[in-house]
Protein backbone atom coordinates (compact mmCIF):
# COMPACT_ATOMS: atom_id res chain seq x y z
CA UNK A 1 0.00 0.00 0.00
CA UNK A 2 1.32 3.43 -0.86
CA UNK A 3 1.84 5.62 2.20
CA UNK A 4 2.97 8.61 0.19
CA UNK A 5 2.00 9.39 -3.34
CA UNK A 6 3.16 12.25 -5.56
CA UNK A 7 1.17 12.98 -8.69
CA UNK A 8 2.57 15.28 -11.36
CA UNK A 9 4.42 17.59 -9.00
CA UNK A 10 5.92 20.76 -10.48
CA UNK A 11 8.08 23.00 -8.28
CA UNK A 12 9.88 26.23 -9.18
CA UNK A 13 12.79 28.17 -7.72
CA UNK A 14 11.58 31.59 -8.80
CA UNK A 15 11.42 31.33 -12.60
CA UNK A 16 13.45 28.10 -12.72
CA UNK A 17 11.46 24.90 -13.00
CA UNK A 18 13.25 22.45 -10.74
CA UNK A 19 10.76 19.58 -10.88
CA UNK A 20 8.95 18.93 -14.13
CA UNK A 21 6.05 16.68 -13.29
CA UNK A 22 7.25 14.01 -10.91
CA UNK A 23 5.05 11.12 -9.86
CA UNK A 24 6.24 8.53 -7.40
CA UNK A 25 5.06 6.53 -4.44
CA UNK A 26 6.54 5.09 -1.28
CA UNK A 27 5.04 1.81 -0.10
CA UNK A 28 4.36 0.96 3.53
CA UNK A 29 7.40 -0.54 5.24
CA UNK A 30 9.66 -0.25 2.20
CA UNK A 31 12.78 1.74 1.47
CA UNK A 32 12.17 3.67 -1.72
CA UNK A 33 15.24 5.12 -3.34
CA UNK A 34 15.53 8.27 -5.43
CA UNK A 35 18.76 8.45 -7.44
CA UNK A 36 20.15 11.16 -9.67
CA UNK A 37 23.10 13.41 -10.39
CA UNK A 38 23.68 16.86 -8.90
CA UNK A 39 20.90 19.27 -9.76
CA UNK A 40 18.48 16.56 -10.83
CA UNK A 41 15.94 17.86 -8.32
CA UNK A 42 16.06 15.12 -5.71
CA UNK A 43 16.36 17.45 -2.73
CA UNK A 44 13.61 19.65 -4.13
CA UNK A 45 11.31 16.63 -4.24
CA UNK A 46 11.89 16.02 -0.54
CA UNK A 47 11.48 19.72 0.31
CA UNK A 48 8.22 19.77 -1.59
CA UNK A 49 6.94 16.74 0.31
CA UNK A 50 7.81 18.09 3.74
CA UNK A 51 6.45 21.53 2.84
CA UNK A 52 9.60 23.67 2.84
CA UNK A 53 8.70 24.42 -0.79
CA UNK A 54 5.31 24.72 -2.34
CA UNK A 55 4.53 22.93 -5.61
CA UNK A 56 2.97 24.97 -8.40
CA UNK A 57 1.03 22.01 -9.67
CA UNK A 58 0.25 18.48 -8.65
CA UNK A 59 -0.92 16.53 -5.67
CA UNK A 60 0.81 14.92 -2.70
CA UNK A 61 -1.17 12.46 -0.61
CA UNK A 62 0.08 11.10 2.68
CA UNK A 63 -2.16 8.49 4.28
CA UNK A 64 -5.17 9.64 2.26
CA UNK A 65 -4.63 13.31 3.16
CA UNK A 66 -3.58 15.95 0.66
CA UNK A 67 -0.52 17.69 2.05
CA UNK A 68 0.84 19.87 -0.78
CA UNK A 69 1.61 23.35 0.52
CA UNK A 70 1.27 22.39 4.20
CA UNK A 71 3.99 23.97 6.40
CA UNK A 72 6.88 21.69 7.42
CA UNK A 73 6.08 21.83 11.13
CA UNK A 74 2.60 20.54 10.32
CA UNK A 75 3.80 17.67 8.11
CA UNK A 76 6.21 16.77 10.91
CA UNK A 77 3.24 16.53 13.26
CA UNK A 78 1.49 14.27 10.78
CA UNK A 79 4.41 11.88 11.02
CA UNK A 80 6.82 12.78 8.22
CA UNK A 81 10.35 13.22 9.53
CA UNK A 82 12.63 15.02 7.11
CA UNK A 83 16.38 14.62 7.67
CA UNK A 84 17.85 17.35 5.46
CA UNK A 85 21.19 16.96 3.73
CA UNK A 86 24.30 18.34 5.36
CA UNK A 87 23.76 17.33 9.01
CA UNK A 88 21.52 20.16 10.06
CA UNK A 89 21.78 19.97 13.83
CA UNK A 90 21.24 22.75 16.37
CA UNK A 91 24.93 23.61 16.87
CA UNK A 92 24.81 25.32 20.27
CA UNK A 93 22.46 22.86 21.92
CA UNK A 94 23.76 19.70 23.55
CA UNK A 95 23.18 16.31 21.95
CA UNK A 96 20.53 15.58 24.54
CA UNK A 97 18.72 18.88 23.91
CA UNK A 98 18.85 18.23 20.18
CA UNK A 99 17.09 14.92 20.73
CA UNK A 100 14.55 16.53 23.06
CA UNK A 101 13.77 19.05 20.34
CA UNK A 102 13.06 16.14 18.02
CA UNK A 103 10.19 15.26 20.32
CA UNK A 104 8.97 18.87 20.57
CA UNK A 105 5.58 18.25 19.03
CA UNK A 106 4.86 15.19 21.17
CA UNK A 107 2.91 15.50 24.37
CA UNK A 108 3.42 11.99 25.74
CA UNK A 109 5.68 10.86 28.55
CA UNK A 110 7.72 8.28 26.68
CA UNK A 111 10.32 10.72 25.38
CA UNK A 112 12.97 9.37 27.77
CA UNK A 113 12.30 5.84 26.56
CA UNK A 114 12.74 6.86 22.93
CA UNK A 115 15.94 8.65 23.83
CA UNK A 116 17.27 5.30 25.10
CA UNK A 117 16.21 3.75 21.81
CA UNK A 118 18.20 6.36 19.84
CA UNK A 119 21.23 5.82 22.11
CA UNK A 120 20.86 2.11 21.39
CA UNK A 121 21.02 2.74 17.66
CA UNK A 122 23.89 5.22 18.05
CA UNK A 123 25.90 4.38 21.20
CA UNK A 124 28.38 7.15 20.41
CA UNK A 125 25.69 9.77 20.98
CA UNK A 126 25.11 8.51 24.52
CA UNK A 127 28.78 9.16 25.29
CA UNK A 128 28.49 12.74 24.06
CA UNK A 129 25.02 13.48 25.46
CA UNK A 130 26.10 16.62 27.34
CA UNK A 131 28.31 18.04 24.59
CA UNK A 132 27.39 20.85 22.26
CA UNK A 133 26.61 19.25 18.94
CA UNK A 134 28.82 21.74 17.07
CA UNK A 135 31.79 19.77 18.41
CA UNK A 136 30.64 16.41 17.02
CA UNK A 137 32.34 14.96 13.98
CA UNK A 138 30.52 14.97 10.66
CA UNK A 139 29.43 11.36 10.99
CA UNK A 140 28.22 11.87 14.53
CA UNK A 141 26.22 14.91 13.46
CA UNK A 142 24.59 12.86 10.74
CA UNK A 143 23.72 10.22 13.32
CA UNK A 144 22.32 12.92 15.57
CA UNK A 145 20.17 14.27 12.75
CA UNK A 146 18.76 10.80 12.08
CA UNK A 147 18.30 10.14 15.80
CA UNK A 148 16.52 13.47 16.22
CA UNK A 149 14.15 12.54 13.42
CA UNK A 150 13.41 9.22 15.13
CA UNK A 151 12.41 11.13 18.28
CA UNK A 152 9.41 12.43 16.39
CA UNK A 153 8.07 8.86 16.25
CA UNK A 154 7.42 9.36 12.56
CA UNK A 155 5.56 6.90 10.40
CA UNK A 156 7.72 7.88 7.46
CA UNK A 157 11.23 9.27 7.07
CA UNK A 158 12.67 11.36 4.25
CA UNK A 159 16.46 10.94 4.24
CA UNK A 160 18.43 13.40 2.12
CA UNK A 161 21.90 12.07 1.28
CA UNK A 162 22.79 10.62 4.66
CA UNK A 163 26.10 9.43 3.19
CA UNK A 164 27.24 12.88 2.03
CA UNK A 165 30.87 13.48 2.92
CA UNK A 166 31.29 10.40 5.10
CA UNK A 167 34.07 7.83 4.98
CA UNK A 168 33.22 4.47 3.37
CA UNK A 169 33.14 2.76 6.75
CA UNK A 170 30.67 5.32 8.13
CA UNK A 171 28.59 5.05 4.98
CA UNK A 172 28.09 1.34 5.53
CA UNK A 173 27.42 1.97 9.21
CA UNK A 174 24.69 4.50 8.38
CA UNK A 175 23.29 2.16 5.73
CA UNK A 176 23.06 -0.59 8.32
CA UNK A 177 21.19 1.68 10.73
CA UNK A 178 18.75 2.73 8.02
CA UNK A 179 18.07 -0.91 7.23
CA UNK A 180 17.64 -1.71 10.91
CA UNK A 181 15.19 1.13 11.49
CA UNK A 182 13.24 0.02 8.44
CA UNK A 183 13.14 -3.60 9.62
CA UNK A 184 12.60 -3.15 13.36
CA UNK A 185 10.08 -0.32 13.23
CA UNK A 186 8.54 -1.19 9.87
CA UNK A 187 9.47 2.38 8.91
CA UNK A 188 8.59 3.63 5.45
CA UNK A 189 11.64 5.44 4.09
CA UNK A 190 12.24 7.62 1.06
CA UNK A 191 15.99 7.74 0.58
CA UNK A 192 17.69 10.26 -1.68
CA UNK A 193 21.23 9.33 -2.57
CA UNK A 194 24.13 9.95 -4.89
CA UNK A 195 25.86 6.89 -3.54
CA UNK A 196 23.89 4.61 -5.83
CA UNK A 197 25.58 1.40 -4.74
CA UNK A 198 24.71 1.89 -1.08
CA UNK A 199 21.18 2.99 -1.88
CA UNK A 200 20.44 0.14 -4.27
CA UNK A 201 21.85 -2.37 -1.79
CA UNK A 202 19.41 -1.46 0.97
CA UNK A 203 16.46 -0.20 -1.10
CA UNK A 204 13.41 -2.07 -2.32
CA UNK A 205 12.16 0.11 -5.15
CA UNK A 206 14.06 2.80 -6.98
CA UNK A 207 13.51 5.88 -9.12
CA UNK A 208 16.11 7.65 -11.25
CA UNK A 209 15.80 11.38 -11.79
CA UNK A 210 17.36 13.53 -14.47
CA UNK A 211 16.84 17.30 -14.81
CA UNK A 212 13.56 17.36 -12.93
CA UNK A 213 12.01 14.23 -14.39
CA UNK A 214 11.84 10.60 -13.43
CA UNK A 215 13.48 8.74 -16.28
CA UNK A 216 13.49 5.21 -14.93
CA UNK A 217 11.86 3.21 -12.16
CA UNK A 218 12.06 -0.42 -11.15
CA UNK A 219 12.88 -2.67 -8.25
CA UNK A 220 16.35 -2.06 -6.89
CA UNK A 221 17.42 -5.57 -7.90
CA UNK A 222 16.64 -4.93 -11.52
CA UNK A 223 18.03 -1.36 -11.47
CA UNK A 224 21.33 -2.72 -10.23
CA UNK A 225 21.65 -4.97 -13.24
CA UNK A 226 20.50 -2.37 -15.74
CA UNK A 227 23.13 -1.29 -18.29
CA UNK A 228 22.59 2.44 -17.92
CA UNK A 229 22.64 2.43 -14.17
CA UNK A 230 25.81 0.37 -14.09
CA UNK A 231 27.47 2.74 -16.48
CA UNK A 232 26.36 6.12 -15.12
CA UNK A 233 25.91 5.53 -11.40
CA UNK A 234 27.89 2.47 -10.42
CA UNK A 235 30.95 3.22 -12.51
CA UNK A 236 31.05 -0.18 -14.19
CA UNK A 237 32.42 0.21 -17.72
CA UNK A 238 33.77 -2.24 -20.25
CA UNK A 239 36.57 -1.28 -22.56
CA UNK A 240 34.35 -1.09 -25.63
CA UNK A 241 32.05 1.51 -24.13
CA UNK A 242 34.98 3.60 -23.08
CA UNK A 243 36.51 3.57 -26.54
CA UNK A 244 33.37 4.66 -28.25
CA UNK A 245 33.02 7.60 -25.91
CA UNK A 246 36.23 9.28 -27.04
CA UNK A 247 35.31 12.68 -28.36
CA UNK A 248 37.48 12.43 -31.43
CA UNK A 249 35.34 9.66 -32.77
CA UNK A 250 32.15 11.62 -32.43
CA UNK A 251 30.88 13.33 -35.52
CA UNK A 252 28.37 15.68 -33.92
CA UNK A 253 27.51 17.12 -30.55
CA UNK A 254 24.21 15.73 -29.28
Amino acid sequence: MAVLELTNIETYYGPVMAIRGVSLEAKEGEISVLLGANGAGKTTVLKTISGAMEPQKGKITFRDQEIQGVDPDQTARMGIAHVPEGREVFPFLTVEENLQMGAFSRGDSEVQQDMEMVYDYFPVLAEKAKQQSAYLSGGQQQMLAIGRALMLRPSMMLLDEPSLGLSPRLVSEIAEIIERVNREQNMTILLVEQNAKMALDIGHYGYVMEVGRIVMEDTCERLKSSQDIQEFYLGVKDEGVRGRRRWKQRKTWR
Binding site: S50, A52, D71, P72, D73, A76, R77, A81, H82, V83, P84, E88, V89, F90, P91, F92, L93, E97, N98, Q100, M101, G102, F104, S105, A134, A145, R148, A149, M151, L152
Partner: protein
Amino acid sequence: MEVLQLLVSGISQGCVYGLIALGFVLIYKATEMVNFAQGDLMMLGAFFAYTYLNLMELHFLVALPLTIFTMAILGAFTERVMIRPMIGEPHFSVLMLTIGLGFILRAAAGAIWGNEPRSLDLPYAGGVIDLGGLIIGYENLVIVIGTAMLCTLLFLFFRFTRLGIAMQAASQNQLAAFYVGIPVKRIYSLVWAISAGISAVAGILVAPVSLIDPLIGFIGIKAFAAAIVGGFGSLPGAIVGGLIIGIVEQFAGLYLPTGFSDVSAYVILLVMLLIRPEGIFATMQQKKV
Protein backbone atom coordinates in the same frame (compact mmCIF):
# COMPACT_ATOMS: atom_id res chain seq x y z
CA MET B 1 32.55 59.50 46.62
CA GLU B 2 31.81 61.51 43.56
CA VAL B 3 33.11 58.64 41.42
CA LEU B 4 30.87 56.13 43.20
CA GLN B 5 27.90 58.41 42.80
CA LEU B 6 28.53 58.66 39.08
CA LEU B 7 29.00 54.91 38.88
CA VAL B 8 25.63 54.28 40.50
CA SER B 9 23.72 56.54 38.17
CA GLY B 10 25.76 55.20 35.25
CA ILE B 11 24.81 51.65 36.10
CA SER B 12 21.13 52.44 36.41
CA GLN B 13 21.11 54.35 33.12
CA GLY B 14 23.14 51.53 31.57
CA CYS B 15 20.58 48.96 32.68
CA VAL B 16 17.91 50.78 30.69
CA TYR B 17 20.12 50.81 27.60
CA GLY B 18 20.87 47.17 28.24
CA LEU B 19 17.20 46.21 28.40
CA ILE B 20 16.40 47.91 25.11
CA ALA B 21 19.52 46.35 23.59
CA LEU B 22 18.24 43.00 24.81
CA GLY B 23 15.10 43.59 22.79
CA PHE B 24 17.18 44.35 19.67
CA VAL B 25 19.32 41.26 20.13
CA LEU B 26 16.43 38.87 20.82
CA ILE B 27 14.67 39.78 17.60
CA TYR B 28 17.91 39.80 15.64
CA LYS B 29 18.98 36.40 16.88
CA ALA B 30 15.66 34.80 16.16
CA THR B 31 14.70 36.41 12.86
CA GLU B 32 17.86 38.15 11.61
CA MET B 33 15.95 41.40 11.40
CA VAL B 34 16.81 44.58 13.25
CA ASN B 35 13.81 46.28 14.78
CA PHE B 36 14.57 49.99 14.84
CA ALA B 37 11.28 50.71 16.57
CA GLN B 38 12.59 49.06 19.75
CA GLY B 39 13.05 52.39 21.55
CA ASP B 40 9.59 53.49 20.50
CA LEU B 41 8.13 50.29 21.90
CA MET B 42 9.72 51.34 25.18
CA MET B 43 8.10 54.76 24.87
CA LEU B 44 4.75 53.13 24.20
CA GLY B 45 5.21 50.87 27.22
CA ALA B 46 5.81 53.90 29.40
CA PHE B 47 2.64 55.55 28.06
CA PHE B 48 0.57 52.44 28.70
CA ALA B 49 1.90 52.39 32.24
CA TYR B 50 0.93 56.09 32.47
CA THR B 51 -2.58 55.24 31.27
CA TYR B 52 -3.11 52.41 33.70
CA LEU B 53 -1.48 54.11 36.69
CA ASN B 54 -2.31 57.80 36.39
CA LEU B 55 -5.47 57.86 34.29
CA MET B 56 -7.20 54.62 35.34
CA GLU B 57 -5.65 54.75 38.84
CA LEU B 58 -5.01 51.01 39.07
CA HIS B 59 -2.79 49.68 41.82
CA PHE B 60 0.77 49.53 40.49
CA LEU B 61 1.03 45.80 41.11
CA VAL B 62 -1.89 45.40 38.68
CA ALA B 63 -0.91 48.16 36.30
CA LEU B 64 2.66 47.04 35.67
CA PRO B 65 1.92 43.41 34.68
CA LEU B 66 -0.97 44.74 32.61
CA THR B 67 1.42 47.10 30.81
CA ILE B 68 3.85 44.30 30.03
CA PHE B 69 1.00 42.09 28.84
CA THR B 70 -0.44 44.82 26.60
CA MET B 71 2.94 45.44 25.02
CA ALA B 72 3.56 41.72 24.51
CA ILE B 73 0.26 41.42 22.65
CA LEU B 74 1.13 44.49 20.61
CA GLY B 75 4.56 43.03 19.80
CA ALA B 76 3.09 39.76 18.60
CA PHE B 77 0.46 41.64 16.60
CA THR B 78 3.14 43.79 14.92
CA GLU B 79 5.08 40.67 13.95
CA ARG B 80 1.98 39.03 12.55
CA VAL B 81 0.68 41.89 10.40
CA MET B 82 3.85 43.84 9.52
CA ILE B 83 6.87 41.58 9.66
CA ARG B 84 5.65 38.13 8.65
CA PRO B 85 4.50 39.21 5.18
CA MET B 86 8.06 40.52 4.68
CA ILE B 87 9.73 37.10 5.08
CA GLY B 88 11.95 36.56 2.08
CA GLU B 89 12.12 40.27 1.23
CA PRO B 90 15.49 42.06 1.38
CA HIS B 91 16.67 42.99 4.87
CA PHE B 92 16.75 46.64 3.90
CA SER B 93 12.98 46.73 3.31
CA VAL B 94 12.35 45.28 6.74
CA LEU B 95 14.70 47.85 8.22
CA MET B 96 12.83 50.70 6.53
CA LEU B 97 9.58 49.17 7.70
CA THR B 98 10.62 49.20 11.36
CA ILE B 99 11.95 52.76 11.06
CA GLY B 100 8.57 53.70 9.62
CA LEU B 101 6.85 51.88 12.44
CA GLY B 102 8.85 54.05 14.86
CA PHE B 103 7.53 57.22 13.17
CA ILE B 104 3.96 55.92 13.34
CA LEU B 105 4.25 55.01 17.02
CA ARG B 106 5.72 58.43 17.92
CA ALA B 107 2.99 60.26 16.03
CA ALA B 108 0.28 58.06 17.50
CA ALA B 109 1.56 58.54 21.03
CA GLY B 110 1.68 62.30 20.47
CA ALA B 111 -1.89 62.28 19.19
CA ILE B 112 -3.25 60.13 22.00
CA TRP B 113 -1.32 61.31 25.04
CA GLY B 114 -0.04 64.71 23.91
CA ASN B 115 3.50 65.93 23.47
CA GLU B 116 4.15 67.51 26.86
CA PRO B 117 6.26 65.52 29.32
CA ARG B 118 4.41 63.44 31.91
CA SER B 119 5.52 61.79 35.09
CA LEU B 120 4.47 58.37 36.27
CA ASP B 121 2.85 58.03 39.73
CA LEU B 122 5.00 55.23 41.05
CA PRO B 123 4.85 54.72 44.82
CA TYR B 124 8.62 54.35 45.15
CA ALA B 125 9.61 57.44 43.16
CA GLY B 126 11.44 60.16 45.04
CA GLY B 127 12.77 58.19 48.03
CA VAL B 128 16.51 57.83 48.62
CA ILE B 129 18.90 55.61 50.54
CA ASP B 130 21.86 57.35 52.15
CA LEU B 131 24.85 55.01 52.40
CA GLY B 132 27.26 57.21 54.31
CA GLY B 133 27.19 60.04 51.82
CA LEU B 134 26.43 57.88 48.77
CA ILE B 135 22.89 58.82 47.79
CA ILE B 136 20.96 56.21 45.84
CA GLY B 137 17.48 57.05 44.61
CA TYR B 138 14.89 54.32 44.99
CA GLU B 139 14.11 54.56 41.30
CA ASN B 140 17.75 53.84 40.45
CA LEU B 141 17.78 50.91 42.83
CA VAL B 142 14.59 49.55 41.30
CA ILE B 143 16.09 49.81 37.82
CA VAL B 144 19.10 47.72 38.80
CA ILE B 145 17.09 45.14 40.75
CA GLY B 146 14.42 44.94 38.07
CA THR B 147 16.99 44.43 35.33
CA ALA B 148 18.80 41.76 37.31
CA MET B 149 15.53 39.91 37.98
CA LEU B 150 14.43 40.10 34.37
CA CYS B 151 17.79 38.81 33.14
CA THR B 152 17.70 35.90 35.59
CA LEU B 153 14.19 35.07 34.47
CA LEU B 154 15.18 35.16 30.82
CA PHE B 155 18.24 33.05 31.49
CA LEU B 156 16.19 30.39 33.26
CA PHE B 157 13.59 30.49 30.49
CA PHE B 158 16.07 30.02 27.66
CA ARG B 159 18.20 27.48 29.50
CA PHE B 160 15.67 25.17 31.09
CA THR B 161 12.20 25.38 29.57
CA ARG B 162 11.21 23.38 26.53
CA LEU B 163 9.86 26.47 24.81
CA GLY B 164 13.01 28.43 25.59
CA ILE B 165 15.22 25.72 24.12
CA ALA B 166 12.93 25.54 21.10
CA MET B 167 13.45 29.29 20.61
CA GLN B 168 17.20 28.78 20.69
CA ALA B 169 16.83 25.92 18.23
CA ALA B 170 14.75 28.03 15.86
CA SER B 171 17.35 30.79 15.95
CA GLN B 172 20.27 28.40 15.41
CA ASN B 173 18.81 26.47 12.50
CA GLN B 174 15.48 27.62 11.22
CA LEU B 175 14.90 24.90 8.65
CA ALA B 176 15.87 22.07 10.99
CA ALA B 177 13.52 23.55 13.58
CA PHE B 178 10.71 23.42 11.05
CA TYR B 179 11.53 19.80 10.22
CA VAL B 180 11.36 18.61 13.82
CA GLY B 181 7.90 20.13 14.20
CA ILE B 182 8.67 23.38 16.03
CA PRO B 183 6.07 25.94 14.92
CA VAL B 184 8.71 28.48 13.89
CA LYS B 185 6.27 31.19 12.81
CA ARG B 186 4.54 31.16 16.17
CA ILE B 187 7.95 31.20 17.86
CA TYR B 188 8.74 34.41 15.96
CA SER B 189 5.56 36.04 17.21
CA LEU B 190 6.53 34.97 20.70
CA VAL B 191 10.01 36.48 20.32
CA TRP B 192 8.44 39.79 19.33
CA ALA B 193 6.08 39.55 22.28
CA ILE B 194 8.94 38.93 24.72
CA SER B 195 11.01 41.68 23.15
CA ALA B 196 8.15 44.19 23.37
CA GLY B 197 7.49 43.04 26.95
CA ILE B 198 11.12 43.72 27.88
CA SER B 199 10.98 47.20 26.38
CA ALA B 200 7.79 47.82 28.37
CA VAL B 201 9.74 46.97 31.52
CA ALA B 202 12.48 49.36 30.39
CA GLY B 203 9.86 52.06 29.84
CA ILE B 204 8.38 51.59 33.30
CA LEU B 205 11.79 51.58 34.94
CA VAL B 206 13.07 54.68 33.17
CA ALA B 207 9.88 56.72 33.62
CA PRO B 208 10.61 57.99 37.16
CA VAL B 209 14.12 59.05 36.11
CA SER B 210 13.35 60.87 32.88
CA LEU B 211 9.86 62.13 32.18
CA ILE B 212 7.75 60.46 29.53
CA ASP B 213 7.17 62.09 26.17
CA PRO B 214 6.79 60.64 22.67
CA LEU B 215 10.45 61.27 21.87
CA ILE B 216 12.11 59.30 24.68
CA GLY B 217 12.28 56.34 22.30
CA PHE B 218 15.31 57.93 20.67
CA ILE B 219 17.53 56.47 23.38
CA GLY B 220 16.92 53.30 21.38
CA ILE B 221 19.73 54.45 19.11
CA LYS B 222 22.15 54.50 22.02
CA ALA B 223 20.85 51.08 23.01
CA PHE B 224 21.54 49.93 19.47
CA ALA B 225 25.13 51.08 19.92
CA ALA B 226 25.19 49.15 23.20
CA ALA B 227 24.00 46.00 21.44
CA ILE B 228 26.79 46.29 18.87
CA VAL B 229 29.43 46.97 21.53
CA GLY B 230 28.28 43.85 23.37
CA GLY B 231 28.49 41.78 20.21
CA PHE B 232 25.20 41.80 18.33
CA GLY B 233 23.64 38.43 18.95
CA SER B 234 24.76 37.95 22.53
CA LEU B 235 22.23 38.45 25.34
CA PRO B 236 24.75 39.03 28.16
CA GLY B 237 26.66 41.23 25.73
CA ALA B 238 23.64 43.50 25.36
CA ILE B 239 23.51 44.16 29.10
CA VAL B 240 27.28 44.61 29.40
CA GLY B 241 27.32 46.95 26.39
CA GLY B 242 24.49 48.95 27.95
CA LEU B 243 26.34 49.23 31.24
CA ILE B 244 29.55 50.40 29.55
CA ILE B 245 27.74 53.08 27.60
CA GLY B 246 25.68 54.17 30.61
CA ILE B 247 28.72 54.52 32.86
CA VAL B 248 30.96 56.24 30.33
CA GLU B 249 28.17 58.68 29.55
CA GLN B 250 27.94 59.75 33.18
CA PHE B 251 31.67 60.27 33.53
CA ALA B 252 31.91 62.08 30.21
CA GLY B 253 29.14 64.40 31.41
CA LEU B 254 31.17 65.52 34.37
CA TYR B 255 34.79 65.40 33.28
CA LEU B 256 34.56 66.32 29.61
CA PRO B 257 33.25 69.52 28.00
CA THR B 258 29.53 69.94 27.50
CA GLY B 259 28.05 67.77 24.77
CA PHE B 260 30.45 64.88 25.15
CA SER B 261 27.98 62.99 27.30
CA ASP B 262 25.58 62.66 24.38
CA VAL B 263 28.13 61.58 21.81
CA SER B 264 30.12 59.27 24.07
CA ALA B 265 27.92 56.28 23.16
CA TYR B 266 28.86 56.68 19.52
CA VAL B 267 32.52 57.29 20.31
CA ILE B 268 32.56 53.99 22.19
CA LEU B 269 30.80 52.36 19.26
CA LEU B 270 33.37 53.66 16.78
CA VAL B 271 36.32 52.68 18.96
CA MET B 272 34.80 49.24 19.43
CA LEU B 273 34.27 48.77 15.71
CA LEU B 274 37.92 49.69 15.13
CA ILE B 275 39.54 47.44 17.69
CA ARG B 276 37.10 44.52 18.02
CA PRO B 277 34.37 44.70 15.37
CA GLU B 278 32.71 41.46 16.49
CA GLY B 279 31.90 42.98 19.88
CA ILE B 280 32.80 41.91 23.40
CA PHE B 281 30.88 38.64 23.44
CA ALA B 282 31.15 37.43 19.88
CA THR B 283 29.04 34.30 19.80
CA MET B 284 27.74 34.43 16.30
CA GLN B 285 29.20 31.70 14.16
CA GLN B 286 30.13 32.37 10.58
CA LYS B 287 26.98 32.52 8.61
CA LYS B 288 26.42 29.46 6.48
CA VAL B 289 25.23 30.17 2.99
